[in-house]
């Protein structure tokens, strides 16, 4: 009896989490007259991919995807690289000091990213990096460093000191120790961190909006939000839903494959907090 109740609850939880996503896909697959029909139809009478086609033809949506990939990919790579350098050094310090340094990094995480957009913009404008991939990549890296350093530091610290000593005797340079030994051994943590950073960059909105304001450089979230006007009649809701679905499907796939790691990553981060 209790079991049935629990299963029911579980079903409700799944429904709650997934409903918006499914609704978006359903809307995306409806032809436009159905999209705007009153009362609302749930399953499309006729499946149509005209919305999806329109998304790509009316605006350079493919370009948006490319932009997002470049920025997210670049930021992830840069973050991992810099974070591993920092974390590796932190490892050689005594734990108290390292923790203190990490606490300072944390302060950066308290500021809402929206507000960070302003000083970032001012600084990057002076550096002529606004509207440039690198500007956004740098910003994302800065935002994600605290988290990445935290994760990598924890992973590196778990490696026994003897490994270092053996490597020293074998003649590895410090960079060599980092890249040839520490990183390969920390692959799980690296992967989790990479995934979480990538997702963050892919989803990020306000910095992308502020720092890459020309249409050709929009990332996907910004591009989608620009598809809107302000109210019902003019807005191509069918296309918007199609665009939303297109954006969210890859993320869902990544999560599906890596869900265990993602959860681990989040909880490690939380516990260390």
């Amino acid at each position: 009896m209790k079991k049935i109740l629990l299963y029911l609850l579980m079903g409700l939880v799944i429904l709650y989490c997934l409903f918006p996503f499914f609704w978006t896909i359903l809307t995306a697959l409806k032809p436009s007259d159905e999209v705007f029909s009153v009362p609302v139809t749930y399953l499309p009478e006729k499946f149509s991919i005209e919305n999806v086609k329109n998304v790509f033809s009316k605006r350079p949506f493919g370009r948006y995807i490319l932009n997002s990939l470049i920025v997210a990919g670049g930021a992830t790579a840069l973050t991992l690289w810099v974070a591993s350098l920092i974390a590796f050094h932190l490892r050689s310090l005594d734990l108290k000091k390292a923790t203190r340094i990490q606490r300072w990094l944390l302060i950066g995480a308290i500021v809402p990213p929206a507000l960070l957009a302003i000083p970032f913009f001012v600084v990057l404008a002076k550096l002529m990096l606004v509207n440039h991939y690198f500007g956004l990549i740098l910003s994302y890296t800065a935002l994600n460093l605290p988290f990445a350093v935290w994760m990598l530091h924890a992973a590196f610290r778990q490696l026994p000191k003897e490994l270092d000593e053996a490597a020293l005797m074998d003649g590895f340079s410090p960079m060599g120790r980092l890249f040839r030994i520490a990183m390969p051994l920390s692959r799980p943590t690296l992967s989790i961190t990479a995934v979480l950073v990538f997702i963050f960059c892919w989803n990020e909105f306000i910095l992308a909006l502020t720092l890459m304001p020309t249409q050709l450089k929009y990332t996907v979230p910004v591009g989608i939000s620009m598809l809107s006007g302000a109210s019902v009649y003019e807005i191509p809701w069918g296309e918007i839903n199609a665009a939303v679905a297109l954006t969210t499907i890859p993320v869902i796939l990544i999560i599906a494959v890596l869900q265990r790691w993602v959860i681990e990553g989040l909880t490690t981060g939380a516990m260390k907090g």
């Binding site: 799944i14 989490c17 609704w23 302060i107 302003i118 001012v122 991939y133 009649y233």
Partner: protein, 654 residues
């Protein structure tokens, strides 16, 4: 060792390559942003221009409908140091852009004699401090469209209008009037017509604010009455120009307040021949007034080839180009000569009347901070229309706000904190949002975590689905939510009606409570997974023996929850709480896309305000100042949370 050097070298080279902007070609490239070029008028003008000037490439970038957003795009481009060369600006942007030094004065190319060929109101509005910065491309004035097949005598006064609405309109099949009631600049254009029509004004002869007047109250009351009596549909509060046009086009209203461009559309619709235009209504005994609109082209400062830009402006404002814009787009020309042009008269015989109206079009206050003043006015007018502020209160608030804004700009920031009406409002909204969403997220998250912790089959599927709301982009999902909360096409209304919880569809996003609720709901949906995962980790960290021991000691599930699970979860709840509070207080993405802070500023949170301060109001310093306070508040809150939520046993040393 060599491997290291090579790899580092590669990375450095890549970085450098990313930095170098792509080099330009030999052609001069120009850009401008405008609304979607329906009808292809601009495309034709630009094509002709390219034929005449093959060495210049003009790029028309299609931007959003909302003029406010296009203004933001221009502002950002100025700030970024790589401005769009041609500034296609609304009449009210001129003073501000000019004052900030972003525009090139056009006096040398556009002398007095040339200026006189254009409509006077437009030219006046293109000046700032005795220099001219913009050449008017199209003019605009607000006027009243009416169904002449249904109404023989168009109204001139408010009273006549009221009478006609009562007798001839028939909601919901056919409303009385439809206009632009959303919280944006267009609202002020409408509002001023009522204000002026009542004999009031924003600034008096001494350029002092005089809004706490009887005329203002009457104007506000009248506008509100139009909606309350049902002469205008309630959804007019979400309308911009294109929405009111669509509505009128479908035959659902007797009157429409709109700009001249609508005529063109109507002439190609089933309403052809059934529509007339007259100057906007006024209070009996006062004079009619139409707000001057219109667009013009200016040149951005600091570009390399201003002469090329001027060539385009010259071309685009020539009689021929304006004719094309008129024919294909219904644009009102700014050259006086064109009103005598035979083609145009044939195409639009109503232009004879229109010309007279145009000569008397009134510009909005020409002031560098007009945008900010307008924002304040918009807020209160919108609040009156939505029903959350009474006209007399609104009138005094408007007066107070505008005066205090102008004053406040002179005050030192600390004192300004006390006076800043916007600040108080946004802080209140932020607190409301946080207090509404965080407890729900925590409780729901706890519930989910408990469910996920139970040994049931399908746990993996469950965990996966719980992760998804968190993993999806907020901004993107906000669009999905907009769609779901939509009225009448939204699924949420539909589901609620089917279940029987509500009888009629609710106006979620156009009412203050509904919008806040929608925002809170969307946020809870998105962030509960995050809380769930943290609490799940906490649940799994409780040694199984403790639970068993407690159940041996006689505790059923509820008692176990109270005595063991919750206390042991406190460190995790603490963390989740801190993260959530920080995130909720700083919320931006969701609100910006979902409601933009509206309606009537009811969902405007502190982050939105600070963002506006920096990017729209050009008050970076004050923005930073507020940010500092905000940060301090957040840090303080975190410390308080940690201090109060640490159980004694954690603090005690071993």
């Amino acid at each position: 060792m060599k491997v290291e050097a090579r790899r580092t070298g590669l990375i450095v080279t890549l970085l450098i390559l990313l930095c170098i902007p792509v080099s330009a070609s030999s052609q001069v490239a120009l850009r401008m942003i405008g609304p979607e070029d329906i009808g292809g008028a601009w495309a034709e003008v630009i094509r002709n221009f390219h034929e005449e000037h093959p060495d210049i490439k003009m790029n028309y970038i299609s931007g959003p409908w909302s003029t406010d957003e296009r203004q933001n795009m221009y502002i950002r481009s100025f700030l970024s140091g790589n401005p769009f060369e041609l500034v296609y600006m609304d009449v009210i942007w001129t003073a501000n852009f000019a004052q900030r030094g972003w525009l090139l004065p056009l006096d040398s190319w556009f002398p007095q004699e040339e200026q006189e060929k254009f409509l006077p109101g437009d030219i006046e509005a293109s000046h700032y401090k005795r220099h001219i910065y913009r050449v008017p491309v199209r003019s605009d004035v607000g006027m009243l469209y009416y169904r002449k097949d249904l109404i023989s005598e168009p109204p001139e006064s408010w009273e006549e209008f009221e009478h006609l609405c009562r007798t001839t309109s028939n909601p919901p099949e056919r409303y009385g009037i439809v206009f632009q009631g959303m919280q944006y600049e267009g609202l002020i254009c409408n509002y001023l017509e009522y204000l002026w029509g009542a004999g009031g004004t924003v600034l008096d002869e001494n350029e002092e604010v005089c809004l706490e007047t009887r005329e203002n109250i009457e104007a506000l009351r009248f506008m509100k009455k139009i909606i309350e009596e049902g002469w205008a549909p309630r959804s007019v509060l979400t309308f911009q120009e294109q929405h009111s046009l669509e509505f009128f086009e479908k035959g659902k209203a007797l009157f429409m307040r709109n700009w001249p461009y609508a005529w063109n559309r109507l002439n190609h619709s089933p309403l052809k021949g059934k529509v007339g235009i007259v100057p906007f209504i006024h209070k009996a005994g006062q004079k009619s007034a139409g707000t001057l609109g219109g667009w013009g082209l200016g040149i951005a400062q600091g570009m390399k080839h201003p002469e090329a830009a001027w060539k385009f402006i010259e071309f685009a404002t020539s009689a021929n180009a304006q004719k094309i814009l008129h024919m294909k787009r219904g644009a009102v020309p700014t050259r006086k000569s064109l009103f005598d042009d035979t083609d145009i008269q044939k195409e639009s015989p109503h232009y004879k009347e229109l010309y007279k109206v145009l000569l008397r079009a009134r510009p909005r206050p020409v002031h560098p901070d007009y945008v900010r003043v307008s924002a304040i006015l918009q807020k209160h007018v919108s609040a009156v229309l939505v029903g959350i502020e009474r006209p007399p209160d609104a009138a005094s608030a408007m007066d107070r706000s505008v005066s205090s804004y102008v004053q406040g700009k002179k005050l030192n920031w600390f004192r300004r904190l006390a006076v800043d009406y916007d600040l108080h409002r946004t802080v209140k909204n932020t607190l409301l949002f946080t207090i509404l969403s965080v407890p729900f997220e925590l409780s729901l998250g706890l519930l989910f975590a408990l469910i996920l912790n139970a040994p049931l089959r399908g746990r993996v599927m469950n965990r996966l689905s719980v992760l998804i709301p968190w993993a999806l982009p907020t901004a993107v999902m906000a669009m999905a939510w907009q769609w779901m909360f939509n009225n009448p096409f939204g699924v949420i209304n539909d589901v609620l009606m089917r279940i029987g919880l509500i009888q009629e569809p609710l106006n979620w996003l156009s009412s203050p409570q509904g919008a806040m609720f929608a925002a809170v709901f969307a946020d809870i949906w998105k962030t509960t997974p995050f809380v769930t995962i943290i609490l799940l980790a906490g649940l799994q960290s409780i040694p199984k023996e403790l639970t068993e021991s407690l159940s041996l000691d006689g505790a059923g599930f509820p008692k176990r929850l109270l005595h063991l699970i919750l206390p042991m979860l406190i460190p995790f709840i603490r963390i989740a709480l801190i993260f959530r509070v920080i995130h909720a207080a700083g919320i931006f993405d969701l609100i910006w896309v979902l409601t933009k802070g509206g309606p009537a500023d009811s969902t405007r949170t502190l982050s939105l305000y600070i963002y506006d301060l920096a990017f729209r109001y050009d008050e970076l310093g004050y923005g930073f100042f507020l940010t500092l306070f905000f940060l301090l508040a957040l840090i303080l809150t975190s410390v308080v949370i940690v201090k109060t939520m640490t159980l004694r046993y954690e603090k005690v040393p071993r």
